[in-house]
């Protein structure tokens, strides 16, 4: 039995660019912005970094292929650099590479950086791309909102929740994220909205309206990781360590086998079971302090609260409406605004979620700082489509927790 990742790796420093429509900046500018912050936070020289992992999803829109763009942008001293891509979980994948490298003992200090420059496509939303010559022959001509919208129809049918109640719960999620985002100076969307505005917004993919969809942003986030011993030797106190890192990839069951009902994520449930076990968490609803989940669409956040075993099946609507996940609720979810308002630069998102956990645990989250000191923070990062995806979970927390 593997011993797991718990407490083997500490976060030495993190950085995150401002997310948004960065018309005057290249991907390289965003990478530097996140990297310099992380390097200064870590208090090390660039020459101390042994290896780097570079997460980017839609490289043809900005930097191009391979690891070279990261190495060039940061002028890294010819160290090993690996480019990773796993849909919207690419940033988490970069973090996993760096963490595993340190845990293995192959590296003392490793870097993970994610970036995406999405606002150079000429239109809003994600770029429309080919999906491979065979898939294009038979896959429905689906967009991201259209794929995720189907969670709502399947969930409503399964749990007998009316369209109106679903829409209200989804609206609550978006209103909450806008409230939270308004307190975050690095967030893309900083305006507050109300339920009425969400309900009356133009339809994107039924039943998802405009405010049920996250922002598509430019941005970058970065982490520098090392062992707890090295972190302490470098003078770091109150370490934030990695408690669990789990990834689950669809094997085709959801897309091809009738055992899946379409209302939840098979991968999230599989990864969550393993992550809690790895972190030693037995009662997640009581033990986890904060969540950053992949709220690409409001409905995704809703079903994820059940997939992470926080809300009982069919009960997420009630928890949401009762304010359980609000910034001042029992377990805040997206206290930084989430993908919805912080923004969603594909390759940076997973690292941005960890960045927020890191700030909150260090008491550095400014106006949005949670008063009750967080112990365990969980990030949930999802890539692909509900019926064919990867789910990446990371739990970080105070050393020894």
């Amino acid at each position: 039995m593997a011993s797991g990742i718990k407490d083997k790796v500490a976060i030495l420093g993190m950085g995150c660019s401002r997310f948004g429509e960065r018309w005057n900046d290249n991907a390289e500018d965003l990478m530097i912005e996140a990297f310099i912050e992380a390097l200064e936070d870590a208090g090390i020289e660039k020459s101390s970094i042994d290896a780097a992992w570079f997460g980017t999803g839609i490289e043809e829109e900005h930097v191009g292929k391979s690891a070279v763009p990261l190495s060039m942008a940061l002028r890294l001293p010819n160290i090993p650099v690996t480019r990773v891509e796993n849909y919207c979980a690419s940033g988490s994948e970069a973090f996993r590479g760096a963490v595993y490298a340190v845990a293995s003992g192959a590296c003392d200090i490793a870097l993970a950086l994610g970036v995406e420059k999405l606002k150079d496509t000429g239109y809003g939303g994600l770029p429309q791309r080919n999906r491979g010559s065979v898939n294009d022959m038979f896959w429905a001509n689906a967009s991201a909102p259209g794929s995720f919208a189907q969670l709502a129809t399947a969930y409503s049918a399964k749990h007998g929740v009316s369209k109106e109640d679903m829409k209200k719960a989804m609206a609550h999620i978006s209103v909450k994220s806008h409230d939270n985002g308004s307190r975050n100076p690095k967030a893309h969307l900083r305006n507050q909205i109300n339920e009425e505005k969400v309900m009356n917004a133009p339809m994107i993919a039924e039943p998802l309206g405009l405010f049920d969809c996250c922002g598509v942003s430019d941005g970058s986030a970065c982490a520098i990781v090392t062992t707890p011993e090295i972190a302490k030797a470098l003078g770091k106190k109150d370490l934030i360590t990695v408690k669990a890192m789990q990834l689950s990839a669809s094997n085709g069951r959801e897309a091809q086998h009738n055992s899946w009902d379409g209302s939840h994520f098979v991968t999230t449930r599989a990864a969550a079971n393993r992550a809690y076990k790895e972190a030693g968490i037995t009662k997640p609803r009581d033990q986890v302090s904060l969540f950053e989940v992949h709220d690409c669409f409001s409905i995704t956040e809703l079903v994820t609260m059940e997939d992470l075993f926080i809300s009982d099946e069919g009960q997420a609507v009630n928890d949401i409406m009762n304010g359980f996940f609000d910034a001042d609720g029992e377990i805040p979810c997206q206290i930084d605004g989430g993908l919805k308002c912080f923004g969603h630069p594909i390759g940076a998102s997973g690292l941005r979620m960890i960045y927020e956990m890191y700030l909150q645990m260090n008491g550095r989250a400014g106006d949005r700082q949670r008063s009750e000191e967080p112990v365990f923070g969980m990030t949930h990062n999802l890539g692909g489509f509900p019926h064919q995806n990867v789910c990446s979970l990371t739990i970080v927390g105070k050393e020894g927790a």
Binding site: G125, G146, A149, H387
Partner: protein, 489 residues
Amino acid sequence: MEVGILAYGGYIPQSRLQRSEIAKAHSWFNPGLNGLAKGERAMANWDEDSVTMAVEAARDCLGDMDRDAISAVYMASTSFPFNDRQNAGIVADALNLKSGLQTMDFSSSQRAGSAGLSLALHVAKGSSEPVLYTTAEKRETRAASPLEFTSGDGAAAFLVGQGKVIAKLLASHTEAVDFVDHFRGEGEAYDYSWEERWVRDEGYLKIVPAAIASVLEQSDVDPSSITTFCFPVAAKRIAATLAKQMGFPETSVADNLQANCGETGTAHSMVMLAQALQNSKPGDKILVASFGQGSDALLFEVTDEIANLAPRMGITGYLARRYAESNYNKFLAFHDLINLERGIRAETDKKTGLTTLYRNKNMAQRMLGGKCTQCGTAQFPKSNMCVNENCGAVHTQEDYPFADRIARVNSFTADRLTYSPDPPAYYGMVQFEEGGRLMSDFTDISPESDVEVGMAMRMVFRVKDYDNKRGFRRYFWKATPVAAAQKGE
């Protein structure tokens, strides 16, 4: 041995463009068009063409009959999607027929529809195996032309051969006359027409009677005993004049479907024949004639076997499955007659790897999936390893056809973000009743359709993507509600 029709089928697209809406758009320019503003015309969906309509008519014709015996597939049209790629071959593929058969396209004349049937019957007479004959038309017409009003889209199919024929061929005759009333030159998109009165007097009323007279003489049938006279011309009085001239009973003149369908081009003589068979009883004598650089005449006698033919949609059923389309701009857009701003998402390159298509054509064109011989799980697409997590067997899947199975909606959406020529794009997970599922595009979701989880869907062969850069189109199967709309005004 007697030869004749063993089974028939028809297909008419469900959307019916209101002719008053066409007139509304154009009468400022040509008030004369107001005279054509009555009724409605069948309007193919953006993902339909003559091949997809022929496939639907053929499926209607064949029902659950044995398809392995079919020895040839012919198709007639003047609106083939491919000039150099056999269209009948695509039809045969979509029907999941064996490869050991003859396929052939007939074209270049409004008479090709009847000529094809005549030839198919001739071939079947010398063969113990039946021939599948299909014809369809999605005729391109210029905006504000009379043809835009009088044309319609549709298809018919016939299984012809020997044995238990529902209608035996009594006689057939062809008059070939290079009478050019209209033409479409090489590379031209639209027809060029000559004066209607000349076409009537020197064309219809002189050439067609010669063909009819020959079949009457060959078969020794008294003109007064003709039950149904099918003559595919938009103006009704021409068929009536011909009937009178030939001595057919007044009641024999078949409805030319101008009011609710429009003339389906070269397919129309065959659409009318399919309709006549649907309305016939044993002993009926059906005479079908056509016009186009000459005339074909075919005379059939309906047999007692017609009572044993399984029920089918036919032209009657498809005419009843309709909704009224009052947006003429949509028609213009579907036919690329307006320079619509389609948005950046429409720019996606739709190139098809022909190697990939050929390797995967059982999946893409025949909709063959796999069924695990070890655990019985049906799955789409067919794969090397069974998707059932309790099985996972390798190389155990046999071909398993999905196209004719009923599925139910598991989840769905109406998407306004993704590019669709007819937004919103409906799609969702559909689950087949005997197992297997697919994230499928939906089609023919009429404004009256209320899509719901659990709704029954059937699969239809449609255009999946147009590659306008290279003039290619890709086909795949889409889900459509089994209980289609039959309302709207």
